[in-house]
Amino acid sequence: MLSLIIFIPLLAALGILLGAPARKTALGAAAAEFLLTLFTFLSYDKAKAGFQFLSSTPIAPEWNLNYLVGVDGLSVLMLLLTGIVTLAAIWVTPKIEKREPLYYACLLFITAGAAGAFASVDLFFLYAFHELALIPTFLLIGIWGSGERHTAAWKITIYLGLGSFILLIGLLDLYLAVPEALRTFNLIDLQKLATSGAIPAAAQTRPYIFLLIGFGILISLFPFHTWAPAAYASAPTPAAMLHAGVLKKFGLYGLMRVAIPLLPEGAKHWANLLLILLVGNIIYVGFATIAQKKLDLLLGYSSVMHMGYIFLGVAAMNTIGLSGAALLMFAHGLSIAALFAMAGMLRANRPQLALDSFGGLAKSMPALAFAFGLAAFASIGLPGFANFASEMTVFFGAYKPAAGLDASHFHLAVIFALWGVVISAVYMLRAYRAIFMGEPSKEAAAWPDPFKALRWPVILLLAVLLIAGFAPGKFLSLVQPTFDAVLPK
């Protein structure tokens, strides 16, 4: 079944390239993807922790390399996110004037890459699947993007290509850190080895820093974040939704799945560095966000900034922090996708998305204004949305980090992070005021509300955010056993 989740988008993409009707096929595949991930999510047995639905095909027995898929609490949540955002992204796609088949095929390739990475229980495929999304992104931004699209496409592709090669070196170093007879790419076996102490503490620092920087570039960790805002601003709406909502979470997922559990001593060694960088994400990028004058760049920067909170939960290395970070990944993916979707709707009237070119749209587009408000509140972290619940959990986790970490440094970081909430409120509310408040210009008063035609995808995203916000326990209890099992006692 997990293989279906990976191969349905792939096959649909190939079908579209070979001449199947583009939008219908893509939408069908996205719906199937959503239903399958939802089904996996619901049928995952919480009582039994660990990986379920495992299936394996040998690829290279000499290296102990298998195509191995399976899900645990963390990956099932990420798969669900992939399914929801894919459906929403393909649904909101406007009419494509040129080369429609290639457009939808690229989107589906991104989905397949993300789903493959989240479902793989083998390091090699976890890495390889993520890279499947690299070239489609390059094409999507380069062909159908807006603004400085060529610069943005080059920047994201070279940055991510560089990041993934650093990551590859880290994974190889990790693979080779295990004694020769026991080497494997299988994450379950590696986890057992790590728990039993087969990876000596001294051998953990080097692979961890490679992994941190490699994954960090993919997540837009400060100061490697400059690719992200430009790329998201130029990318076509569905590509930005998929990339910011789902694909960027792969790096965080990798830290939670690979770097922290397998190399805990390495993580402790570099904890202070990570703290400094994540405060950079929250404060420095936060101020940069306030300075933005265009909605697409503002959303791009804000998505970089919010990575800081997730890093904070990861850095704490305890179950509370990591669970909060996992839920925050889910929540952030949904809220940023909803915001990008609505920014895309606004693009129809003002392609530049300059904040001062709008104003008073609450009158002409009340439904959009309402939905945008909800998504903005979610993004700031107001109670009722999953973002609030998960950010709180992250703060609790980070306030009392795992043994071996310096709590006072974490206290400092938490204080900075709390100020970050204020920063988010400043830029989100300013943007909201500039776009929706006041009196509309004559021209703007006549604009039709685009939300009516495209409401369902956004409603889907917001509804899941609210459900997870009112019942975060359901989601947290899903991921907690995963982290309990892998974190060092």
Binding site: I59, A60, P61, E62, W63, L102, Y127, A128, F129, E131, L132, L134, I135, F138, L139, G142, I143, H150, A153, W154, T157, I158, G161, L162, F165, I166, L168, I169, L172, D173, Y175, L176, E180, R183
Partner: protein
């Protein structure tokens, strides 16, 4: 079971037969010759799997490595002949001939001789055979590079290749002489035996080895012996450029691995040679990849990229260790990388020939909008570029994966760091082609027609790049425990001692 030597003899006979037909045939159109050669060489690929493993001798090894590289040589030659067929109309313009199509026979038969040389080289474990087969390859290339007699660039390339090739041969022979003088042997296994048993002065040995590395460095286009590459690659007829960048590189590396083997275990020598190789690897990666960045001509870009790939291969060679590991073993990395490199490079050149003929030029801008003119060709070239850049699920990625695994295992992190930077540079210049094909609008919208044989070859190569990127197992199984010297070195050494 057939004796292994039969393969080379058949190839040589085929070449001679083609020359005879070329001389005595009344027909002007010699394309049938190439098609015949393609058929026979393909059959030989099949026959090579039924070689008697005991048919080797002290000169000529019959092992998995030799078999692997022979198959590579045969496949390369087949694709080169397909390219030559596609290229014949361009070639005819630059040839003085009474009728169009005349004088092309040698263009089809010389690659067959090169192929024989490459195959001999794959088996050569004696300096004499290594030298003779290397010369068979090089001399046929001298003619092929300068084949377009009315094209000044081709002539210039021919002269450059001739002079520098001859010089490098000189270095090689001189190096062999020193090593022979020190050990009294030309057989590699015997040299290994002699080095292990006799006390040999290390300084002259190192001097001889450095001369040898200089000679081989020219063949594989490693910095600082790479200066001939861009002009020769750009000037030579495109099929020959492809042949040079794949065939001579593969042969150079198998010889390098075999030749290095005896010296690695010698105290005070092995470490130094590896250090020199590591330095060459670093410079080659940097030079090839950085110099490729500003190129606007696709053929020249591929020339620089080929230098860059020689750098990655040298990284693997420099990460050789005498401890034998099944994974991360540098030999596997080199062999797999070469196999992947062969597929993707030949694919790029095939597409280049087709596109260049229709767009009348081989600059990057001639690829603008190719995705609209021919989605098939654009996808094939996209595959080749991704593989060259090292994107997962392509053969090129597995190659880089193995190379970097070898380097990490050997603890050569400074090489790894340079490798990461150059890979990022590679992303830029390979994707420039992708950007031209997919982002830009075509200047000329006429669809491109492709000959059936070429179409089949392009399809097969594209498919193979993906298959070996997802299922590397068939190649890995062939390469399991690669030995670069015959498995019975003592026996061979004993024989030659007996001969003394």
């Amino acid at each position: 079971m057939i004796p292994s030597l039969c393969l080379e003899i058949t190839v040589l006979l085929l070449g001679i037969l083609m020359l005879l037909v070329e001389s005595f045939s009344r027909s002007d159109d010699k394309r049938g010759l190439a098609k015949m050669a393609i058929g026979i060489l393909s059959a030989l690929v099949g026959f090579s799997f039924f070689v008697d493993p005991a048919s080797g001798n002290a000169f000529y090894a019959v092992d998995a490595t030799a078999h692997f590289f022979k198959v590579l040589a045969l496949l390369t030659t087949i694709v080169v002949l397909i390219m030559a067929l596609e290229y014949s109309s361009v070639l005819a313009k630059y040839l003085p001939g009474v009728t169009p199509g005349a004088g092309l026979g040698e263009f089809y038969s010389l690659p067959v001789f090169t192929c024989a040389g490459l195959m001999f080289m794959a088996s050569a474990v004696d300096f004499l055979l290594i030298f003779v087969s290397l010369e068979l390859v090089t001399i046929s290339f001298y003619i092929l590079v300068a084949y377009m007699r009315r094209h000044t660039a081709s002539l210039e390339a021919g002269v450059k290749y001739l002079i520098l090739g001859a010089l490098s041969t000189g270095f090689l022979v001189y190096g062999i002489t020193w090593i022979f003088g020190l050990t009294g042997e030309t057989n590699l296994a015997a040299i290994q035996h002699a080095l292990a048993t006799k006390a040999v002065a290390t300084t002259p040995l190192l001097f001889g080895l450095m001369l040898l590395l200089t000679g081989l460095g020219f063949k594989v286009a490693a910095v600082p012996f790479q200066l001939w590459v861009p002009d020769v690659y750009q000037g030579a007829p495109t099929p020959i450029t492809a042949f040079l960048s794949v065939g001579s590189k593969a042969a150079g590396f198998v010889v390098l691995l075999r030749v290095l083997q005896p010296f690695l275990g010698v105290p005070g020598v092995g470490v130094k040679v590896l250090a020199v190789l590591a330095l060459m690897a670093a410079l080659t990666m940097l030079y090839g990849n950085l110099a490729a960045l500003p190129q606007d001509n696709f053929k020249r870009l591929l020339a620089y990229s080929s230098i860059g790939h020689a750098g990655y291969l040298l990284v693997a060679v420099a990460s050789v260790s005498d401890t034998k590991a099944t994974f991360g073993s540098a030999g596997v990395a080199v062999a797999f990388y070469l196999a992947g490199y062969l597929l993707m490079t030949l694919l790029s050149f095939l597409v280049l020939i087709v596109v260049a003929r229709h767009s009348r030029g081989d600059d990057i801008l001639h690829f603008n909008g190719l995705a609209k003119r021919s989605p098939f060709l654009a996808f094939a070239l996209l595959t080749a570029m991704l593989s060259l850049a090292g994107v997962p699920f392509t053969a090129g990625f597995i190659g880089k994966f193995l190379v970097f695994a070898a380097a990490v295992q050997a603890g050569k992190f400074w090489l790894v760091a340079i490798g990461i930077l150059t890979v990022a540079a590679g992303f830029y210049y390979y994707l420039r082609i992708v950007a031209a094909m997919y982002w830009q609008e075509p200047g000329d919208t006429t669809p491109i027609k492709i000959a059936p044989l070429t179409r089949t070859a392009i399809g097969a190569l594209t498919f193979a790049v993906f298959v070996f990127g997802i299922f590397p197992q068939p190649i890995l199984r062939q390469l399991k425990d690669p030995a670069f010297l015959p498995s019975t070195p003592v026996h061979a050494a004993h024989q030659s001692e007996h001969g003394d």
